[in-house]
C-alpha cells in the first residue's frame, strides 16, 4: 500500500514540475486532468481505518470532476475565446522551474517540522501536498492568462487534497467535499467570466483588469 501511495505522490510532484515548465495551454490542461485522476486513487489507498464507502465516493467524485469535467470546461473556454495557445508567463519557464525546485526543498524542510496529530501514511505526503499548493499559487501569480489562473486553483486544491489525506481521520471527508465544491463553483464561474471578459474586451489577459482599479489613468 505504502508503495502505491508513494508512486502517486511522486507523480504529483513530477506533474507539478512539468506544469511549471510547460508552455502550451492544451498540454497544461491535460496534465492537470491527469493529476486529478491520479489523486482520485489516493483516498482509497489512504483511508486507513476509516470507512470505505465515503472514501470511494470522494475519490470517484474528485476524479470525475478534475479528470473530466474541469478539463472539458476549460477546453470549451479556450475554444470559445480563441485565445492563443501560448501560456505567456510573467516569469520565464527556466526561472519557474528553478523556483519550483527551491519550493520543493522548502516544502521538505517544512514538512519535516510540521507537527502532525498522528503519523502520515507516507512521509512524502506533507511535502508533496505543500509543494502542490505552492505550485498552484505560483501559477496564479506568475501567468498572464485567466485560464492558467483557473489551472492554478485546481493544482492548489490538489495539494490541499493530498494534505487532507494526512488528516483523513481528523478531518472529516465532508470538509474535503466542501473544498471540492468550492473549487467546482470557482472553475465554473471563472469559465463563464473568462468567456464574458473576452467578449467585452477582446482578450483574456487578467492583468488588463488594472484599468478598473481606483484612480487608474
Amino acid at each position: 500500500m505504502g508503495n502505491a501511495i508513494d508512486i502517486l505522490l511522486v507523480l504529483l510532484v513530477l506533474t507539478d514540475l512539468v506544469l511549471l515548465g510547460s508552455s502550451r495551454l492544451r498540454n497544461a490542461i491535460r496534465i492537470v486532468a491527469l493529476q486529478g485522476l491520479a489523486l482520485g486513487l489516493l483516498p482509497l489507498l489512504a483511508h486507513g481505518r476509516g470507512r470505505l464507502w465515503p472514501a470511494i465516493l470522494l475519490g470517484a467524485g474528485s476524479a470525475v470532476l478534475k479528470g473530466f469535467v474541469f478539463p472539458a470546461l476549460l477546453r470549451r473556454a479556450l475554444r470559445e475565446t480563441r485565445a492563443s495557445r501560448e501560456i505567456e508567463p510573467f516569469v520565464g519557464y527556466i526561472a519557474s522551474l528553478l523556483l519550483g525546485v527551491g519550493a520543493l526543498a522548502l516544502s521538505f524542510g517544512f514538512g519535516a517540522r510540521l507537527p502532525l496529530p498522528w503519523a502520515a501514511p507516507s512521509p512524502w505526503m506533507v511535502p508533496a501536498g505543500l509543494f502542490s499548493v505552492w505550485t498552484g499559487l505560483f501559477l496564479i501569480v506568475a501567468r498572464r492568462k485567466a485560464i492558467t489562473q483557473v489551472l492554478g486553483y485546481v493544482v492548489m486544491e490538489n495539494g490541499i487534497f493530498a494534505l487532507g489525506m494526512v488528516l483523513v481521520e481528523a478531518m472529516p471527508l465532508l470538509v474535503e467535499l466542501g473544498v471540492l465544491l468550492d473549487i467546482f463553483v470557482a472553475v465554473f464561474v471563472m469559465g463563464i467570466i473568462v468567456f464574458h471578459i473576452n467578449r467585452e474586451f477582446d482578450h483574456i489577459d487578467s492583468d488588463q483588469l488594472e484599468a478598473l482599479r481606483e484612480g487608474a489613468p
Binding site: F110, L114, W134, L137, V141, S206, D207, E210, R213, G215
Partner: protein
C-alpha cells in the same frame, strides 16, 4: 430557571422571530402588493412590540433573572440570551417607541408611488429585533453580531431616501463612525473573554488593574453609538437624513443601546477606579452643554433635535457618572439617585424625543422643508401636531408636570447630596449642578425658539400657509406619546419603584433603600401628588383668568403686530435672530461662519445676514485627522496595482511568512 424568567424570555424570543419573519415576508410580498407589504410589516412590528413590551414589563415587575443557552457553531459563540432587570428596563422604551413609530410610518411614507415598501419594513423590523437582541445577549460574540446587525440595518434606513447626495454622505459618515466604535468594543470583549476563558458574560473576568482601561474602551466604543462628545459627529448628520420614524427610533432608543452597553460594562467590570467616574461625569457635562449650544444655533428642525439628543445623552451620562462617584466614595444615596436619575432619563428621553421627531416629521411632511425659517403659524393649521409638539418641548425642557422633570430632578437631588456630604468629592456635585442649571436654561431657550418660530406667528413661506393636519395614523402615535409624557410625569413615583431592581443591580439593594429614605417625598406617590397640585394650580389660574375676563370684550389680533399699520411675516423674529444673544455669547465655542452686509447710510437699500454653524468637533478634530490619515495612507497606494496577480502574491507572501513563523523553533 424560574418560570417568571423563562416565560418572558420565550415571549421575547418569539417577538424577535415575528419581527424577522414579518420583515422578510413584507419585502417578498412587496414585489406584487404594496398594501399587503405595508400591512405585513406594520402588523408584525406592532404585534411583536406589544408582546415584547408586555414581557419586558412583567420581567421587570417580577424581577425575573435567567439565562437560556443554545449551542452555536460559531467559534467562541453561543446563542446565550438572558433577562434581568437591567435588560428588561432597556427593552421597555425599545418596544414602546418602535411600535408607535411603526404605526406612524404607515402614514408617513404614503404614497409609495410604486416603490417596494418592503425595503423599509425589512430593515425597520430587523433594527427593532437587533436592538432587542443587544439587550438580551449574554455572550460576547452574539452581542457583537447583534450590535453589527443593528449598525448595518440602521445604515440602510438612514440612506432610505438615497436620491440625495447629502443623505448618502450622511450615511457614509455614520457607517465609518459606527465601525470605528465597534473596533473598540471588539478589543474590550476580547480582553474580557481572554481573562475569563470564555465569551459568555457569566465567565468574564477582569485582569487585575485593568478595569479602568477596559472602561475607557467601553466609553469610546459605546459612547460613539450614544453620541457623547467628541464621538458624536455622525449624529447631527445621520438623524436629519433618515426618514422621521427612523430618526425617532434611532434618537429615542438606538443611541440608548450605547448607554445600555456602558451600564452593562459597569456590571461586568464590578469596581472601577475613581477617575472613570470623573471622566463619565465630565463627558456628560461637556456633551450636555455642547449639545444644547449647538442645538440653539440650528435652523434645520431635525438637526436641532439631533443636537438636543446629544445634550440629553449628556444628562444621562452625568447621572451615571454621579452614581459611579457615589459608589466610589461610599455614598449610597448619591449612587442610587444618580443611577436612578440617569436610567429614568433614558426612558423619558425615548418618549419625548420620539414624540418631537415624529412631530418634526409631520411638519416636514406638510411643509416640505425642515428649515424653521420657512415655517411659522403652524399651530393654527396643525393643532394636534402643535399640541403634541408643545408637550414634548415642555417635557424636554425639564418642566413639571411632564416627565422630563423627573429624571433631571433625581440627578439634581443626587448632586446636592454629593455637594453637601462628600468632602473632597463635593466638587463633582458642584460641577453637575452648574452643568444641569446651564443645560436646563439653554434647553428652555432652544425649545422656546424651535416651537415659537415654527408654530407661532405668521407663516413665513407659501408652503407654510398651505399645510394641513397630519393623517390619523401619524397623529395617533404622537398623541399617545404626549399622553405618556404626562403620565410618566404624574406617576414618577411608581415608575421609579418599578425600576428599582435595575438600579439595585448597579449599586446594591441597600443603597436603593438609602436613596429612597434620603428623599422620602420623592420616591413614593407623593411625587405624583406634587405634580397634581401643580396641575390644579395651573387649572385654577386659568379659571381665574376666565373670571376676570368675563365682563370684558376680548379682541383677537395678528401675532407680532407691534402696532404696525401693515405688518408682514418678514418682520417677525427669525430663528437666527432669536438665538443671537446666546449664540454670540458662546461664539468662542460655536465659531459661527457669518456673512453679513449691514445696512448703510440714512436710507439703506440692501442688507443681508447669513450665519452657518458647522460642528466644532468635526471641523477641528475629525476633518484634519481623516485628511491627515488619507494623506499618509495615500503613500501606500502603490500596493494597489489593480492586478489580481499582485494581490494573490501578497497573500502567498503573508501565508509563507506565517507558516515559517509558526514553524520557527
Amino acid at each position: 430557571m424560574p418560570p417568571s424568567a423563562s416565560i418572558p424570555l420565550f415571549v421575547l424570543l418569539g417577538a424577535l422571530g415575528l419581527l424577522a419573519a414579518s420583515g422578510v415576508a413584507s419585502a417578498w410580498i412587496g414585489r406584487w402588493s404594496e398594501r399587503g407589504s405595508v400591512w405585513l410589516g406594520v402588523s408584525g412590528s406592532a404585534g411583536a412590540c406589544l408582546a415584547g413590551l408586555g414581557a419586558a414589563l412583567a420581567a421587570l415587575a417580577f424581577r425575573a433573572e435567567g439565562t437560556l443557552s443554545f449551542p452555536w457553531s460559531l467559534p467562541y459563540g453561543a446563542f446565550s440570551v438572558g433577562i434581568d432587570p437591567l435588560s428588561a428596563f432597556f427593552l421597555i422604551p425599545t418596544f414602546l417607541l418602535s411600535g408607535l413609530a411603526a404605526a406612524y410610518a404607515v402614514g408617513y411614507f404614503r404614497p409609495w408611488n410604486g416603490r417596494n415598501p418592503g425595503r423599509f419594513w425589512l430593515f425597520y423590523n430587523a433594527l427593532v429585533a437587533s436592538m432587542a437582541l443587544v439587550a438580551l445577549a449574554r455572550n460576547g460574540v452574539l452581542f457583537l453580531v447583534a450590535w453589527e446587525a443593528m449598525s448595518l440595518v440602521s445604515f440602510f434606513l438612514v440612506v432610505h431616501d438615497d436620491a440625495g447626495a447629502g443623505v448618502r454622505e450622511a450615511g457614509w459618515i455614520y457607517l465609518v463612525a459606527t465601525h470605528i466604535g465597534t473596533a473598540f468594543l471588539l478589543a474590550l470583549f476580547i480582553l474580557l473573554g481572554r481573562a475569563g476563558g470564555s465569551q459568555d458574560f457569566a465567565a468574564y473576568a477582569v485582569p487585575a488593574g485593568s478595569a479602568g482601561g477596559l472602561f475607557a474602551l467601553a466609553l469610546v466604543g459605546f459612547g460613539t453609538k450614544a453620541g457623547l462628545v467628541p464621538f458624536h459627529v455622525w449624529l447631527p448628520e445621520a438623524h436629519p437624513a433618515a426618514p422621521s420614524p427612523v430618526s425617532a427610533v434611532m434618537s429615542g432608543v438606538m443611541i440608548k443601546t450605547g448607554i445600555y452597553g456602558i451600564v452593562r460594562t459597569l456590571v461586568l467590570l464590578g469596581a472601577v477606579p475613581g477617575w472613570c467616574a470623573w471622566l463619565m461625569l465630565g463627558m456628560g457635562a461637556v456633551s450636555g452643554v455642547f449639545g444644547v449650544l449647538f442645538a440653539l444655533a440650528q435652523r434645520d428642525l431635525k438637526r436641532l433635535l439631533a443636537y438636543s439628543s446629544i445634550e440629553n445623552v449628556g444628562l444621562v451620562a452625568m447621572g451615571i457618572g454621579l452614581g459611579m462617584l457615589g459608589v466610589h466614595h461610599g455614598l449610597p444615596a448619591v449612587a442610587a439617585l444618580g443611577f436612578a436619575g440617569g436610567l429614568l432619563h433614558v426612558l423619558n428621553h425615548a418618549v419625548f424625543k420620539g414624540l418631537l421627531f415624529l412631530g418634526a416629521g409631520s411638519v416636514a411632511h406638510a411643509t416640505g422643508t425642515r428649515n424653521v425659517e420657512r415655517m411659522g403659524g403652524l399651530l393654527r393649521r396643525m393643532p394636534w401636531t402643535g399640541a403634541a409638539f408643545v408637550a414634548g418641548s415642555v417635557a424636554i425642557c425639564g418642566l413639571p408636570p411632564f416627565n422630563g422633570f423627573t429624571g433631571e430632578f433625581l440627578i439634581y437631588v443626587g448632586s446636592f447630596k454629593m455637594l453637601l456630604g462628600a468632602g473632597s468629592a463635593a466638587l463633582g456635585g458642584l460641577l453637575a449642578l452648574v452643568a444641569l442649571a446651564l443645560i436646563g436654561g439653554l434647553a428652555a431657550a432652544c425649545f422656546t425658539r424651535a416651537f415659537g418660530i415654527a408654530f407661532l406667528g405668521e407663516p413665513r413661506s407659501s408652503a407654510a400657509e398651505q399645510v394641513h393636519e397630519a393623517p390619523l395614523s401619524m397623529r395617533g402615535p404622537m398623541l399617545v406619546l404626549a399622553a405618556l409624557c404626562l403620565a410618566i410625569g404624574l406617576g414618577a413615583g411608581g415608575v421609579v419603584r418599578l425600576m428599582e431592581p435595575a438600579v439595585a443591580m448597579l449599586v446594591g439593594s441597600a443603597a436603593v433603600d438609602a436613596g429612597r429614605n434620603s428623599a422620602p417625598w420623592l420616591f413614593p406617590i407623593a411625587c405624583g401628588a406634587v405634580m397634581l397640585l401643580l396641575l390644579a394650580l395651573i387649572g385654577s389660574l386659568a379659571l381665574l383668568r376666565r373670571r376676570l375676563l368675563a365682563g370684558r370684550s376680548v379682541r383677537r389680533a395678528v401675532t407680532w403686530d407691534c402696532g404696525y399699520a401693515a405688518p408682514a411675516a418678514s418682520m417677525q423674529y427669525t430663528a437666527t435672530g432669536f438665538a443671537q444673544p446666546l449664540t454670540q455669547a458662546a461664539a468662542a465655542l460655536l465659531r459661527p461662519e457669518i456673512e453679513s452686509r449691514p445696512p448703510e447710510g440714512i436710507f439703506p437699500a440692501a442688507a443681508s445676514f447669513h450665519a452657518e454653524t458647522p460642528d466644532a468637533a468635526r471641523e477641528r478634530l475629525f476633518d484634519p485627522l481623516f485628511r491627515g490619515a488619507a494623506k499618509w495612507l495615500g503613500r501606500l497606494r502603490w500596493l494597489q496595482q489593480g492586478r489580481v496577480h499582485w494581490y494573490i502574491l501578497y497573500l502567498v507572501v503573508v501565508l509563507a511568512v506565517l507558516l515559517a513563523w509558526a514553524l520557527r523553533s
